[in-house]
């Protein structure tokens, strides 16, 4: 156990060299042990890793010095001795600084020319950095039911848990089918309000008068047919989260009332002067361009400012194409399980088709396509004939062309149209209708949506301007 002169390696080079001089510069931790597993020599890298010096621990069993988890349960030295082969293991050790370090260790039996075992050589590689990188690579690319691996989604996954823990209002924007509802629900589930109600209200689903009663509630006799008191959704969401989807479709009059609620957090049901203090976190979502609607006077700027405390934009699927294989496999596995099918993969041709499809309906459309294919397919691999026919029709239409962007996120029509100077309003309006119809490829419902009108308004205006087909 006392310090001894450095052993030399003879017969290899012209003259003998000191063994430690060979081992010292190596970045790998190296220890030589005798057949009883007692330390003979350690290099500097292993001294740094364990925190013990070679002079301190010379003659001490290696397991007491290295303190690895494998030393206690699957000693690689004993295994190497038994098998006669080098043994490689991954594990951890606790060094003298009381730090647990992940290591990869290799144990090699050393034999003399006659084959007799004379000791072991063990190497230790610090793999903390590798593990850190590995963890980063394999981190769960998901939040709630939202999954993805693209940089845009990674950014979202990074901030979503932080946003969830706050009570700030959140505005989620993104095209249809990008997962706005999923994010809203996941935000609620990851928040401190998870055990409280999550109330969803579609602001575009009900007429204005019904929506007011739905949101704020009413008292008995407040209007014809109000036969009893009804608590509004805001009150039902007390202590929880109120999710207002399609907030861009909320009528202006209700926008004012919602704004008042966001300011003082008191709900006044229709027909009542008694307010209810509701502790509610508001999450709103829309596929519309709210800033543009503000400019056009269709959405209140002050309401936008109140909702827009935290803005989360969900990218369309075409901007996260690297997520496509992940999503395809995810949905296929889910639907195979749900339908108890043996479908396990897509053919190369199907993968190519699905990779190039523009997905105007985004992730929802991809999920529907995979659901359809998983239903239809009776084999193990999905082939092109199992895909919905419309994919091929759309593919031929969009071949060579950039995918159609959601109209709501395009510049306003009035900006698209040029040369309107000197034209009167009916002429401008007629031109806007024509532009909308061209953009929607003649689909009137889509054109009405672009113009922000109802279908009947578009039909009336088209008739007025003689645009009926």
């Amino acid at each position: 156990m006392d310090s001894c002169p450095d052993p030399e390696v003879a017969g290899l080079f012209k003259s003998p060299v000191v063994l430690s001089a060979l081992l010292e510069p190596l970045p790998l931790g190296i220890v030589l042990v005798d057949p009883e597993r007692r330390v003979l020599l350690m290099n500097q890298a292993l001294e740094a890793l364990t925190g013990f010096t070679r002079d301190e621990v010379r003659g001490v069993p290696c397991y007491a010095v290295l303190r690895g988890n494998v030393c206690m349960h699957q000693c690689p030295v004993l295994e190497a001795e038994a098998g006669g082969q080098p043994i490689r293991r991954e594990g951890d050790l606790i060094n003298r600084g009381r730090e647990k370090i992940s290591v990869r260790l290799t144990s090699v039996p050393v034999r003399d020319p006659q084959g007799a075992l004379v000791g072991f050589l063990e190497t230790f590689e610090d793999i903390r950095l590798l593990q850190h990188l590995n963890e980063k690579y394999h981190q769960p690319y998901s939040f709630g039911r939202l999954i993805g691996r693209s940089p845009k989604m990674e950014d979202l996954f990074r901030i979503l848990p932080v946003v969830a823990r706050t009570d700030s209002s959140v505005l989620i924007t993104g095209e249809t089918g990008t997962g706005k509802d999923v994010v809203a629900e996941a935000l609620h589930q990851a928040s401190g309000r998870a055990k409280e109600p999550f109330i969803k209200v579609n602001c575009g689903a009900l007429p204005e008068t019904l929506m007011e009663s739905e949101l704020f509630g009413h008292t008995k006799g407040a209007f014809t047919g109000a036969v009893g008191d009804k608590p509004g959704r805001l009150r039902l969401a007390h202590n929880g989260t109120l999710y207002l989807t399609e907030i861009g479709d909320l009528p202006l009059s209700l926008q004012v009332k919602l704004l008042t609620f966001l300011d003082d957090k008191i709900v006044y049901p229709l027909g009542s002067t008694r307010g209810f203090q509701a502790e509610v976190r508001v999450v709103a979502a829309t596929h519309r361009h709210l800033e543009r609607m503000v400019r056009e006077g269709r959405f209140r700027e002050d309401l936008l400012f109140r909702l827009n405390v935290v803005r989360l934009h969900l990218p369309p699927l075409r901007e996260r194409s690297e997520d496509l294989p992940l999503l395809m496999d995810h949905f296929l596995a889910a639907f195979s399980l749900r339908f108890q099918k043996k479908v396990r993969d897509f053919s190369q041709e199907v993968r190519r088709i699905l990779q190039t499809y523009p997905y105007p309906g985004n992730v929802r459309e991809l999920r529907n396509i995979v659901e359809y294919a998983a239903n239809i397919c009776q084999e193990e691999v999905i082939k092109p004939e199992h895909l919905p026919v419309y994919i091929f029709e759309n593919a031929s239409l969009s071949e060579g062309a950039a995918p159609q962007k959601e109209e709501a996120f395009l510049p306003p029509l009035s900006e698209v149209g040029s040369g309107t100077r000197g034209m009167n309003w009916p002429e401008i309006e007629r031109r806007l209708i024509v532009e909308a119809l061209v953009r929607s490829k003649g689909r009137k419902s889509r054109a009405a949506e672009i113009l922000g009108w109802g279908r009947s308004t578009l039909w009336r205006k088209m008739k007025q301007y003689g645009l009926n087909s």
Binding site: M1, F52, E56, V57, G59, V60, P61, Y63, A64, V65, L66, R67, N69, C71, M72, H73, L93, I94, N95, R96, G97, R98, E99, K100
Partner: protein
């Protein structure tokens, strides 16, 4: 007045790892450092948390162990338990050295003479 010492054991040595210890020896010493009681406790499974719990419920005033992670060392120290860690060698010899007032953190108690590594 007696003092309880808990030693983590692996085979006949001090266990190299606190968190992987499944056997401990608890020794009660009187004022003259004589052993008045000694018993072995086998843990159902190795766990640093459960070992800390055992140390506290046994009201041990001193722990002799091998490698221990900083968080458990700090926890035990905070709970006013003295910890002599990085001790190497047969536990019987470590106890003898402790009774002789010669044991410290980092002591090496193997044959060839006791040494004191810089703790």
């Amino acid at each position: 007045m007696f003092r309880k010492v808990l030693i983590t054991v692996w085979n006949s040595d001090i266990s190299p790892r606190f968190d992987l210890t499944s056997e401990v020896v608890i020794v009660a010493l009187d004022d003259q450092m004589s052993v008045i009681q000694e018993r072995t406790v086998v843990l159902p499974h190795a766990s640093a948390e459960e070992l800390c719990h055992l140390i506290l419920t046994e009201e041990a005033g001193l722990v002799i162990c091998g490698g221990i992670e900083e968080e458990y060392h700090q926890y035990l120290t905070w709970k006013k338990v003295e910890v002599l860690d990085s001790v190497m060698g047969p536990w019987v010899r470590a106890l003898e050295q402790f009774r002789a007032g010669e044991l410290a953190a980092g002591s090496i108690c193997y044959d060839g003479g006791s040494r004191q590594a810089d703790a």
